[in-house]
């Protein structure tokens, strides 16, 4: 949404043809023949006339609406532009905006507004003409062709996901570095791509580099490129991921696995927006936004000396922490049903749902692999299930085993003592974090802990605790009773 372009207008170009001036053309008949909403306003933004299309769209009769301010008729949202009609009158230039309006069926429809000055024969502006084009079909097509541009792929309505969804447009508007943290399988890649797609860089490349998957010896060349002859086998120049991401976004996942020398080079790129390719003597300038992600606790890595503090603070401008699936109880069924529908449709199977017993098993499982693991489980079950309902026997056997408790990811716990003999760079994702919570922590226990924390924070006020948890008071009361916290 927002201002798209302006077109200058010369007085000559707006001269009305003689046909209009001689009064031979019925203006109402003319605007009625147009396939878009047309609204004519005077210099005080009041309705002079509008066409039948707009009558149908708004539900207002044009005779009744004459003299009413136009904004009340079209009920539009012009995004960040306030008073676009006034702006056109002031600048004498046309304005094209995308926004929405609410039609008489109470439906919000995306609209392209073209607002132009209305001039008389002496080129004096006496009002404006607004053309409202319904672009719903264009938007749908755009989504089909280019994928979903907004944040539609991020599913959830739990309070923590809502917070993240509120943060994403802010992250998309800025060019600052962003750091996305969270356990494996929580959707860090999806969030990074979503930020890119919603940003002004969306038309440029989104380049993803997994810093943990590429051997250290090759990573520098992968990221920054090399010149011919830089090392054995470098028989041609290679641009590197940073140059490929020029104008767009480079997404560095598993940034915690980046070696210290490369961290220095990355810091230089962040500061100077330029770097030397491997073996090169000429600096290369790049304009790429950096989004980094990690499942590791970078704050702790800094304390251990495994991650540069200056780079950490440079990346940590915008911080988005994704909750583990077990902390998103409200979203579990939503995600389960979503994956079931998506996978069943893809495999052309007519599976209606899960039996009570299988749901119980699925709910009791802890999902150390988070949403990715949940999706895989559903995919397995849909493949195995021959009937319409998924039974426990259709679920992977691993669900029946008692799982190990992965310690929760708690970013930047500055008050924690520094672990001593810990292999923080170990392969297993969670082993670098000290176990902060002991014993099995299924949803029930996580929920219990959440309730207690909320009640402690609010000094025992159930109303405020419910607000904090994003629940109704009755839901909190029921949960308190279930957990025996009365």
């Amino acid at each position: 949404m927002g201002r798209k372009k302006t077109t200058s207008s010369s007085p000559e170009s707006h001269r009305s043809p003689d046909l209009f001036l001689a009064g031979k053309l019925d203006l109402s008949c003319f605007i009625d023949s147009l396939p878009h909403g047309v609204l004519l306003l005077d210099s005080e933004h009041r309705v002079l006339d509008f066409n039948r299309f707009l009558e149908a769209m708004t539900g207002y009769n044009r005779q009744d609406a004459k003299g009413v301010r136009g904004e009340y008729i079209i009920r539009g949202n012009f995004g960040a532009i306030t008073d676009p009609v006034g702006r056109v009158l002031e600048s004498d230039e046309s304005l094209v905006l995308e926004g929405d309006c609410i039609n008489q069926n109470r439906k919000k429809i995306p609209i392209r507004f073209v607002i132009s000055p209305l001039k008389d024969r002496s080129a004096r502006t006496f009002g404006t003409v607004l053309v409202l084009e319904d672009i719903s079909l264009l938007r749908d097509l755009d989504d089909k062709v280019h994928g979903l541009y907004r944040h539609d792929k991020i599913i959830g309505h739990s309070p923590r996901i809502k917070e993240i969804l509120e943060l994403l447009p802010i992250a998309a508007r800025t060019d600052s570095s962003a750091l996305i943290t969270g356990e494996t399988g929580t959707g860090k890649d999806l969030v990074a791509e979503s930020i890119h797609n919603a940003s002004k860089r969306a038309r440029h490349p989104f380049i993803k580099v997994n810093c943990g998957a590429i051997p250290e010896s090759l990573l520098e060349s992968e990221l920054f490129g090399h010149v011919r002859g830089a090392f054995t086998g470098a028989d041609r120049d290679k641009p590197g991921m940073f140059r490929l991401a020029h104008g767009g976004t480079i997404f560095l996942t598993e940034i915690g696995d980046l070696s210290l020398p490369l961290q220095v080079k990355l810091l230089t790129v962040l500061d100077d927006k330029e770097f030397f390719p491997v073996g090169g003597s000429k600096k290369i300038k790049v304009d790429a936004r950096i989004i980094a992600a990690t499942h590791r606790d970078l704050g702790e890595f800094v304390r251990l000396g495994k991650f540069r503090e200056d780079l950490y603070y440079r990346l940590n401008v915008l911080r988005i922490h994704l909750p583990a699936l077990r902390e998103r109880e409200d979203d579990f069924r939503l995600l389960l049903d979503y994956f079931l529908r998506e996978i069943s449709t893809g495999l052309n199977k007519k599976i209606r749902g899960f039996s009570a017993a299988s749901l119980e098993l699925l709910s009791a499982y802890r999902y150390p692999g988070n949403i990715r693991e949940l999706r895989n489980i559903v995919e397995y079950a849909v493949n195995v299930c021959p009937d319409e309902t998924i039974q426990p026997e259709h679920l992977p056997k691993s669900l029946l085993a008692v799982p190990e408790t992965p310690p929760p990811f708690i970013p930047d716990s500055g008050d924690r003592p520094t672990p001593t003999e810990r292999d923080a760079a170990g392969d297993r994702p969670q082993e670098s974090h000290p176990p902060l919570m002991t014993g099995p922590a299924g949803w029930g226990e996580v929920e219990r802990a959440m309730i207690l924390e909320a009640l402690t924070k609010t000094g025992g006020s159930r109303t405020r605790a419910a607000e904090l948890l994003g629940w109704s008071r009755s839901k909190l009361w029921r949960k308190i009773k279930n957990h025996g916290l009365e």
Binding site: V47, A65, K66, V68, Y72, I74, R75, Q104, R106
Partner: protein, 115 residues
Amino acid sequence: MNILIPIQRNEVAPRFDLSSEIVIAEIRRGDKSISDPRILLLPRTSGDELCSLIVKENVSCVVCGGIEEAHFEYLLWKKVTVYDGVIGPYGEALEWVLDNRLRSGQILPGASLRK
């Protein structure tokens, strides 16, 4: 009964979800009076939050401009009478509600300045 109107200056706001100012008044049909009109500024524009406020304030009638179906249905479900698509000064809208004359899609006489 409590009545709430999202407003813009002295008029019923054109959009329910984009309104940052509301007026809440009490209408007494018995003695045909309107009392205690309060104007509140909202911290941000949000149709969802406005719906929550309506329920919290025990409002039983809402007069507004354009409103999305989801918000409209929610309010009906909460037994709130909604007159939407109303154009005109909010004071006049209150009078019309009091006289039981207001209808959805009404353009009130005070809305237009006919020349």
